[in-house]
Amino acid sequence: MTTAEPLPVLTRKDFVSDQEVRWCPGCGDYAILAQTQKLMPELNIPREKIVFISGIGCSSRLPYYMNTYGFHSIHGRAPTIATGLKSSRPDLSVWVITGDGDGLSIGGNHLIHVLRRNVDLVIVLFNNRIYGLTKGQYSPTSEQGKITKTSPLGSLDYPVNACSLALGANATFVARSIATDTQHLVSTLERAHQHKGASFVEVFQNCNVYNDGAFDEFTDKAVRPDRTIAVEHGQPLIFGKERNRGLRLNGVTPEVVDLGNGITESDLLVHDETLEDPTIASILARMEYPEFPVPLGVLRAFQKPTYDELMEDQVQEAIAKQGEGDLEALFAEGDTWVVD
C-alpha cells in the first residue's frame, strides 16, 4: 500500500456475527461476549487478523458469535490448535475461549503446557463451576459436596483453583474478573491482550440454569466491595465499600485489617504484578471467600520471550547462520554416487 489510507474505523457491531446467540436467557456468557465484542475495535487490529478458538461447552460457543475467524474445536483441545496456529502465524491475534470443564478437566494438560511454553495467546476461561452444556454435572471448580445428577450424594472431588494452577504452571499473565462487572472485565481482557505471552483470564460467570448464584455470595453488587478486592499494580490492597479495609502480609499469611487505629495504607501490601517470583500472586490467588475478599484483577504480568517468537527467531537465526536451505543440496547430503 502506498498512500497511508487510514484503517477503516470498526465498531462493536462489526464484530457481531450473523449467528443467532443460543445461550439460555440470563446466562453470564452474554456479558462476556458483549465485552469481548466491545473491546475488539479498540485493539486496532484488522478484523481478519483476529481468531477465536474454543473447545466444547456453552462458553465454547462464543467464536460463532464473533465476526472474526473462528474455530469451535473439540473438547479440551483449543490450546493445542491455538498453539499450532500462533506458532505458524505469529502475525495473528489468537484468543482461546474455554470453560472450567473444557480447560481444567479434559483440557488440563494442554492448558498447563501452553502456559509454561508462554505461547502468545489470550486464554479466557469461563468459570461457572459446572458443566453447562451437558446439563449440569459438577466440574473441577465445583465445591466439594456439590449435589448434581452425577453426584446425588455430593461430589467427592476437592476443587481446583484455576489461578493457582495456572501460577503453578508458571503462567506469565494471570488475571481474574467477573462477567457482571463489565468495566472490570473489558479492561482485564484488554490487559490480557496487551501482554505478550500466554495470558490466562479466569472469568466468574453465572450459569443461571444449572448453578445459579454460584458467585453471588461475593459478587452480588451489594456485597461486592466488601467481599472482593481489586488488585492493581502499584496500589496498596484496599477494599470495602468505604475503602476502609486492607490486606497485609504477616509473613506469608495474608491478613485482612481495618484501616485506622494506627494501621495505615503504608502497612498494606502494595501489589506488584511484574514480579518474577509468583509467590505473592499465588497467595492472592488462593484467597477465598468468606475467609478473605476474593481478589479480582491482574495477579501477575511478568514478561519473558514467547514461544512463538522464539520459534520464529530460531528459524531466522538458522537461515542467517546456515544460509537459506538449498533443497537439492540437502537431497544430495552425505555419500552419493553416479550411475551412468
Binding site: 456475527s17 449467528q19 484488522p46 478484523r47 481478519e48 487478523k49 483476529i50 481468531v51 478458538i53 466444547i56 467464536p63 460463532y64 464473533m66 465476526n67 472474526t68 475467524y69 473462528g70 474455530f71 469451535h72 474445536s73 473439540i74 483441545r77 490450546p79 493445542t80 490448535i81 491455538a82 498453539t83 499450532g84 496456529l85 506458532s87 505458524s88 502465524r89 502475525d91 495473528l92 494438560n109 494442554h110 503446557h113 520459534m311 530460531q314 528459524v315 538458522a318 537461515i319 547462520k321 546456515q322 544460509g323 537459506e324 536451505g325 533443497l327 537439492e328 540437502l330 537431497f331 544430495a332 547430503e333 552425505g334 555419500d335 552419493t336 554416487w337 553416479v338 550411475v339 551412468d340
Partner: protein, 618 residues
C-alpha cells in the same frame, strides 16, 4: 586399496548380517558396508533390528542388535530372506541370529567373547564354537577383540575406547571378504572425527588391520565379488524411509509454496522424522515437540487452518490417540497430513518390531462416517514420493490424509536416485480471497473440495468447527437433509480422489491364474517372490497398492482378470477384508504377525500351492 584378485568367486547377490551387543557398533558397521557397496554400484537393501526399546545388560540376549545388508548385481527389493554371512560379535548375537541362518551359511564369530561368563549370559551350556553344535555351518572363529586391541595398543586410546573400535576390525575383514574398497569408510572416519584425530587414526588403523587380516590369514579360502548392478543412470545416495519421508514433506512445502509445520510427540519408530525435520529450520520448517499426541495433531490442525502444511506423525498407539482430532479435521475439511510409522501391536506391543496393522484403524478409527485419504509407500525411497503425494491429495481435495509407513521402511535403506527439483510435481495452492459470495463450505465442482480461506484474508471471516455444518454457508446445522448431504459429500470427496491417481499396474501378465496383491513394505518380498515364481513358469502376476483409500479406479477390473487373488500382509488380513467387502472377491491371505518382514520363500511357497498353470509368455 583393493583385495588380491586371485581366488575370487563372483556372486550375484550376498546378504551379510552384523550382530552384536548394542554397544558393539553393528549398526555402524552395517551402514558403512551398505554405503560402500552402493557407491561401488551394487543395488543394496538393508534392515536394522533393535531388539527392544531399552538397553539390556551387556552380553545378554535381549541386548543384541543387528544390521542386515543385501547387495547385488541386479535389482533387489528386500534385504534378503536370510544372511549368507553372519558376523557374531558375542555368544548372545550368535544365539539370537542363528535361527535365521540357512545351513551352509558362514559365521564369523568373535571367539574372544565366547568366555564362560558370556556363554552363561547367552544361556549356552557349552561353547557352540567347540561343541560341534554348529556342524552344517561354515564357522570362522576370529579373535576380533584381541586383534583389535593389539592393532591399537599404541594408539593412545583408553582400553574402553579401543574396545569400541572392534566393529571397524570386523568391517575391514568383511570388506576384504567381499572385495570392497576401504575408501568410503576412511573418508567417513575422517569427517566424523575431525575434532578427534587420535580416534580417527585408530579407527582407520583397525579397519585396515581387519582387511589385511583377511588377506593374510588362511581362514577364507576364497573371497567374493558381487559385480555392479545395472541401475538406472542417475545421481544416487543411500536413504532410509524416515529420511525420505522427511525430505518428501520438505519438498511438498517447496512445491506448494507453503511453510511446513510439524508437530509430534516422540514414539518409536516415528521419532526420526521429527529429528530430521528439526534439522530443516533453515528451510523455514517449524517443528513442535508436543506434550502428547492429542496436542500434536491439534497443533497441526491449527497450522493447517492458518495456511501452513499442517503435519503430524506418530506410530500406532499415537494414531489411536489422534482419532478424535482426525475426525475434527474430517469435519472441518482441513488438509492435515498424518503419518503413522506402523509397529507391532496391539497396545504397546513390540515397539521395535514391524507390522502393517494400522490400516483398518486409519480407515475406521473414528466415530461417525469419517473418511480420510490413505496412501502407503512400498519402499524406503518411495516414502519420499508418497510424502509429496499425501500433501498433493490433502491440498487439492481439502481432506485429511494418512500416510502409512512402517518401521521396516522407516529404518530400512536403499539407493535413492536423487531427483532434481524440477522433475517433481508442482501443485498450486489456491487460497480463497474474494469476499464476493464467499462460502466456507462451497464446493469445487470437480473435487468437491471446499475453499481454503485462511485467517488474515479480509472479508472472509468465518467460523468452522466439529458440529455439522450447513452445505455452502457452513453455519451449524442439525437438519436431517443437510446432514445426509454432508455425509455424502465427505464420502464422495474422498471417492473422487480416484479420478486423480494412477491406475494400478500389474507386473506380469495382465490376466492369469493368480494375482498377488500387496501394499506397503511387503513390496520387496512380494515382487521377488512373484519374479521367482514366474521364472519357475507359474501363471502369477503382482500388483502393489500405494493408494489405500480410495483405491485406484481399475482395481476391480484388475482383480476380475485373475482366477484367484492372494494378499500377503503382516497382519491378519486387513487389506483383504477391504477387498473382499468391496469387490466380493474370495481373496486368500498369507498373513504373518511375527514382527519380522515376510520372507520371499514363504510367499513363493504359498504361490506354488495356489497355482497350477504355467505362465503364457505374453
Amino acid at each position: 586399496m583393493t583385495a588380491r584378485s586371485d581366488d575370487v568367486r563372483e556372486l550375484e547377490r550376498v546378504t551379510i548380517r552384523f550382530a552384536g551387543d548394542s554397544g558393539d557398533g553393528s549398526q555402524l558397521a552395517g551402514q558403512q558396508f551398505t554405503n560402500t557397496a552402493a557407491i561401488f554400484g551394487n543395488d543394496v537393501s538393508t534392515m536394522p533390528d533393535y531388539p527392544a526399546e531399552i538397553r539390556a545388560p551387556a552380553g545378554s540376549l535381549p541386548g543384541v542388535s543387528s544390521f542386515q545388508v543385501s547387495f547385488s548385481s541386479h535389482e533387489i527389493y528386500t534385504p534378503g530372506d536370510s544372511p549368507d554371512t553372519l558376523v557374531a560379535m558375542n555368544p548372545a548375537a550368535l544365539k539370537t541370529n542363528l535361527p535365521d541362518l540357512p545351513k551352509g551359511a558362514t559365521i564369523v564369530a568373535n571367539s574372544d567373547e565366547f568366555t564362560e561368563a558370556n556363554l552363561h549370559k547367552a544361556d549356552y551350556e557349552s561353547n557352540p564354537l567347540e561343541d560341534n553344535s554348529l556342524a552344517g555351518y561354515r564357522v570362522i572363529p576370529v579373535p576380533i577383540t584381541s586383534m583389535n586391541a593389539r592393532a591399537l595398543k599404541n594408539s593412545g586410546l583408553s582400553n574402553t575406547q579401543i574396545d569400541r573400535s572392534k566393529n571397524m576390525f570386523a568391517l575391514g575383514l568383511m570388506f576384504w571378504l567381499y572385495e570392497r574398497s576401504l575408501e568410503p569408510t576412511l573418508r567417513w572416519i575422517e569427517t566424523k572425527f575431525t575434532k578427534n584425530p587420535t580416534v580417527a587414526e585408530a579407527n582407520a588403523t583397525t579397519l585396515k588391520a581387519g582387511f589385511y587380516f583377511g588377506e593374510t590369514a588362511e581362514l577364507f579360502p576364497v573371497h567374493y565379488r558381487v559385480p555392479k548392478a545395472n541401475l538406472a543412470p542417475g545421481h544416487y545416495r543411500n536413504i532410509t524411509g524416515n529420511e525420505a519421508t522427511a525430505l518428501g514433506f520438505l519438498a511438498a512445502s517447496k512445491l506448494s509454496g507453503r511453510p511446513l509445520f510439524y508437530a509430534s510427540y516422540p514414539i518409536t519408530p516415528a521419532t526420526d522424522i521429527l529429528s530430521e525435520l528439526a534439522r530443516f529450520k533453515r528451510f523455514g520448517v517449524k517443528t513442535l515437540q508436543a506434550e502428547d499426541e492429542l496436542a500434536a495433531i491439534g497443533a497441526a490442525i491449527g497450522a493447517a487452518f492458518g495456511g501452513s502444511l499442517g503435519l503430524t506423525g506418530t506410530s500406532g498407539p499415537g494414531l489411536a490417540l489422534k482419532s478424535e482430532a482426525i475426525g475434527l479435521a474430517v469435519m472441518t475439511e482441513l488438509p492435515v497430513v498424518i503419518i503413522s510409522v506402523q509397529r507391532s501391536g496391539p497396545s504397546t506391543g513390540m515397539p521395535t518390531k514391524n507390522e502393517q496393522a494400522d490400516l483398518l484403524q486409519a480407515m475406521f478409527g473414528r466415530n461417525g462416517e469419517s473418511p480420510v485419504a490413505i496412501v502407503a509407500p512400498a519402499t524406503p525411497s518411495e516414502c519420499f514420493d508418497m510424502a509429496i503425494e499425501a500433501f498433493r491429495i490433502a491440498l487439492r481435495h481439502m481432506v485429511p490424509t494418512i500416510l502409512l509407513s512402517d518401521g521396516y521402511l522407516g529404518a530400512g535403506s536403499e539407493p535413492w536416485r536423487i531427483p532434481s527439483f524440477d522433475d517433481l510435481p508442482k501443485f498450486e495452492v489456491k487460497f480463497a480471497t474474494d469476499p464476493e459470495s464467499f462460502q466456507p463450505y462451497a464446493r469445487d465442482e470437480e473435487t468437491l473440495a471446499r475453499p481454503w480461506a485462511i485467517p488474515g484474508t479480509p472479508g472472509l471471516e468465518h467460523r468452522i468447527g466439529g458440529l455439522e455444518k450447513s452445505d455452502g454457508a457452513g453455519t451449524v446445522s442439525y437438519t436431517a437433509e443437510n446432514h445426509e448431504i454432508m455425509v455424502h459429500h465427505r464420502a464422495e470427496k474422498v471417492a473422487r480422489i480416484a479420478n486423480d491417481i494412477p491406475d494400478l499396474e500389474v507386473v506380469g501378465n495382465p490376466e492369469g491364474e493368480l494375482l498377488v496383491l500387496g501394499w506397503g513394505s511387503t513390496y520387496g518380498a512380494i515382487t521377488s517372490a512373484v519374479q521367482r515364481a514366474r521364472a519357475d513358469g507359474l501363471s502369477v502376476s503382482a500388483a502393489h497398492l500405494r493408494h489405500m483409500n480410495p483405491f485406484p479406479k481399475n482395481l476391480g477390473d484388475v482383480l476380475s482378470r485373475f482366477e484367484r487373488v492372494l494378499i500377503p500382509e503382516m497382519n491378519l488380513g486387513q487389506l483383504r477384508m477391504l477387498i473382499r467387502a468391496r469387490y466380493l472377491v474370495d481373496a486368500v491371505g498369507l498373513n504373518r504377525v511375527t514382527g519380522r518382514p515376510l520372507k520371499i520363500a514363504e510367499i513363493v511357497e504359498k504361490i506354488s500351492g495356489l497355482v497350477r498353470r504355467k505362465v503364457s509368455v505374453a
